[in-house]
């Protein structure tokens, strides 16, 4: 009796740990999306939904790099990240530069970002929705087992690369001149400008970094979840993670993303909630955060905005 109970408990624990692994892997992708999203909020104070356009475009760009140039995973990742950064600079120039120089209401940034997002998604739909595209196989081993736990290669890689990218980002923000300038701009744009810092250059740099993160996420989304024009819809996950973590707070967005990933996996596993009601619960959590704690989890944990 005791032995069977012990086995049952062990089975439950194994399952829970496996779910935690799956949740953290999912959180890794959400984190790169959320950070790209949060960075722009941080300096321009609006929710940049054009980031969804970056996600879907880079997912396709990565595919074409890998298939046309025959590049390996790492080269594809670097090139996709770079193109993501360049695309984000272009988006900033077309969608936000004039608005910023005219000092318009923030609402217009938001409208512009939604418009650009729809424009990019429709462009992808028109150009690529007639066929299926899938990334070439980068890794021979799709999954591996350690003890009783199953690890999916791309998931783990995604988690590791997301973490490395986030560490590098933190280093750039904290230790480099451009990083310090971005943080200064996020706190007070007028003073930063008065101090002789070229605001436009900092904004471009921020968009570039955000685009690189978008490129990394886009490529991973494409590899793991196939390519389709609505892939950019995953921006919702980044948005929810940002709300949970605290809008515009990069560390908060990372925490929010991991919480969201783990929460989703555990909710799907609960029989009476399942996959159908998981988004309902997620959005309820988001509303609770907005009403009760609009500054998000990181509101007290992280004092700085970046």
């Amino acid at each position: 009796m005791f032995t069977s109970y012990h086995h049952l408990l062990k089975g439950e624990m194994t399952m829970s740990l496996q779910m935690l692994i799956n949740g953290l892997s999912l959180g890794g992708v959400y984190a790169t999306i959320a950070v790209g999203f949060a960075l722009v909020y941080n300096i321009l104070k609006f929710s940049n939904f054009s980031h969804s356009g970056i996600l879907v475009s880079t997912a396709y760009i990565g595919y074409f790099i890998a298939t046309r140039l025959g590049t390996n995973f790492w080269v594809t990742l670097i090139l996709t990240g770079f193109f993501g950064g360049c695309l984000a600079i272009l988006v900033e120039f077309i969608g936000f530069r004039r608005l910023r120089l005219k000092n318009v209401n923030t609402m217009l940034y938001f409208v512009s970002s939604i418009t650009i997002s729809m424009l990019m998604q429709n462009l992808i739909t028109v150009l690529f929705s007639t066929s299926y595209y899938s990334y070439p196989i980068f890794f021979k081993t799709t999954s591996f087992k350690i003890g009783e736990f199953m690890f999916v290669t791309t998931d783990i890689l995604m988690l590791v690369i997301s973490c490395v990218a986030l560490v590098i980002l933190q280093f750039i923000l904290k230790k480099t001149r451009i990083g310090v300038a971005i943080r200064a701009l996020s706190t007070d744009s007028n003073t930063t400008s008065l101090m002789g810092i070229n605001v436009t250059r900092i904004v471009i740099a921020t968009f570039f970094v955000s685009g690189v993160m978008g490129g990394i996420s886009g490529m991973f989304l494409g590899i793991n979840y196939t390519l389709y024009p609505q892939l950019g819809g995953m921006i919702t996950k980044g948005f929810i993670a940002s709300i949970i973590g605290g809008l515009g707070n990069v560390s908060g967005a990372v925490m929010g993303a991991f919480i969201l990933g783990v929460m989703e996996v555990f909710l799907i596993n609960i029989d009476f909630i399942g996959a159908s009601f998981t988004p309902v619960v997620t959005f309820l959590v988001m509303i609770v955060f907005l009403l009760v704690r609009p500054q998000g989890i990181a509101g007290t944990i992280t004092k700085e905005k970046v």
């Binding site: 779910m19 299926y132 070439p136 196939t226 024009p229 819809g233 996959a275």
Partner: protein, 396 residues
């Protein structure tokens, strides 16, 4: 100058006189028959929509080349429904009100079909489509949706055949369900499947669902693995099937658990995967056999016409459905005294034993669903399609 004016006046008079000689024009006689089409030419299920559209175009070209329907040529107008019922409704209204279509080729999307029934009844222009959910063509009271017609086997037929094959031929009784809860295509087949399994001594161990747009199924699949199921019924769309197969393989479940997959596992599904060899132990039922000599001509024409098709494996079954939809509409109008939606509807109801690509089609007057279509079982092992043969469900 006077000369020029005189010549001009003479010319004007000559034109006026010649005009006087013309007869008063009579009411215009229709020289062409407009048939519309609502397909997802973009969006998530565009591969199916484009295939259906191409099949319809092949049929239109064939009929027009042979002189049209009683001498009248078909004008085919396709619109993009983008996977959205609202887009489909708007396009249908445009086809009927503006383009004066007398029949419409419907999409292979049950959700869209369900949204069209009332409008089609109101506008009286029939939609002939591949929406598998039987509610699209038959009302709850057992009478037909007057202006909706189906050209392939229904959800009940498909679900029952697949349940029977799994239980009686593969001897699997411990079964899990995995389907998109927001998609009538999957839900309707699952209901028929479950009914058969429960009535024949099988056991549904777990029912795992997802919703349109979800991309990570690993939690649901892990639960299925944990449940001890030996077979999974997964009647989902191609994009979901791609993710399903990839994640089944990642979790090491493709070798040990059988998947009864639904007709969206049919070609060109395997060609959409970077590594088809990850697809194992999958079975599905289809209403045609790809090696049927009847399909040879259309297959060749398709491969010659469309660059993206190299072999038969690149041809979707939806091509045949689009082709048959047009042929059936054309047949309904042969000998008709008037070219209207009502005439098409009445003509379709009278069709008996029409020689369609998958077999002889007659429409049931009770359901507007085809009678007498059998299904062929296929399997996928190591990324290769294998035809098993026609299968009739075992009724105990």
């Amino acid at each position: 100058m006077k000369k020029i004016v005189t010549i001009m006046l003479a010319a004007v008079m000559a034109i006026s006189l010649s005009a006087c000689g013309e007869k008063t024009p009579t009411a215009p006689v229709a020289t062409e028959i407009v048939i519309g089409s609502l397909q997802d030419l973009s969006g998530g299920s565009s591969v199916s929509g484009i295939a259906m559209d191409r099949g319809a175009k092949i049929a239109v070209d064939e009929i027009n080349a042979a002189g049209g329907i009683d001498g009248k040529l078909i004008k085919y107008i396709p619109y993009d429904s983008k996977g959205e019922p609202q887009e489909a409704l708007t396009a249908y209204n445009r086809l009927v009100d503006q383009d004066k279509a007398v029949a419409v080729v419907g999409p292979p999307i049950s959700n869209i079909g369900l949204a069209m029934t009332d409008t089609a009844a109101e506008k009286k222009v029939p939609i002939v489509g591949a929406f598998i959910d039987s509610r699209v063509t038959m009302k709850e009271d057992g009478t037909p949706q007057d202006y909706m017609f189906l050209v392939q086997p229904t959800n009940e037929q498909s679900g029952t055949i697949q349940a029977s094959y799994l239980m009686n031929e593969l001897k699997i009784t411990k079964i899990a369900l995995f389907y998109d809860k927001t998609n009538a295509f999957g839900v309707s087949q699952v209901n028929a499947f479950k009914k058969y399994v429960e009535a024949n001594g099988g056991e549904i161990l777990t029912e795992q669902v997802f919703k349109s747009g979800d991309v990570d199924f690993k939690t649901q699949l892990s639960k299925i693995k944990e449940s001890g199921a030996e077979g999974i019924f997964a009647p989902n769309y191609p994009k979901d099937n791609t993710l399903y197969c990839t994640q089944m393989n990642q979790l090491g479940m493709d070798e040990s658990i059988v998947t009864m997959g639904g007709l969206e596992f049919a070609p060109p599904f395997l060609t959409t995967l970077p590594d088809p060899s990850i697809v194992n132990n999958v079975y599905f039922a289809l209403n045609v056999a790809f090696d049927d000599p009847k399909l040879a001509a259309i297959n060749k024409l398709y491969i010659d016409t469309y660059e993206d098709a190299k072999t038969v494996d690149d041809i979707s079954v939806k091509v045949y459905l689009g082709y048959d939809a047009i042929q059936l509409i054309a047949q309904s109008l042969k000998g008709a005294t008037e070219i209207t939606g009502v005439a098409v509807k009445e003509g379709l109801e009278k069709i008996t034993e029409f020689d369609a690509l998958p077999g002889k089609i007659s429409f049931s007057t009770k359901s507007h669903q085809p009678l007498g279509l059998s299904m062929v079982m296929y399997s996928i092992m190591g990324g290769k399609n294998e035809k098993i043969g026609p299968y009739v469900p075992v009724v105990k």
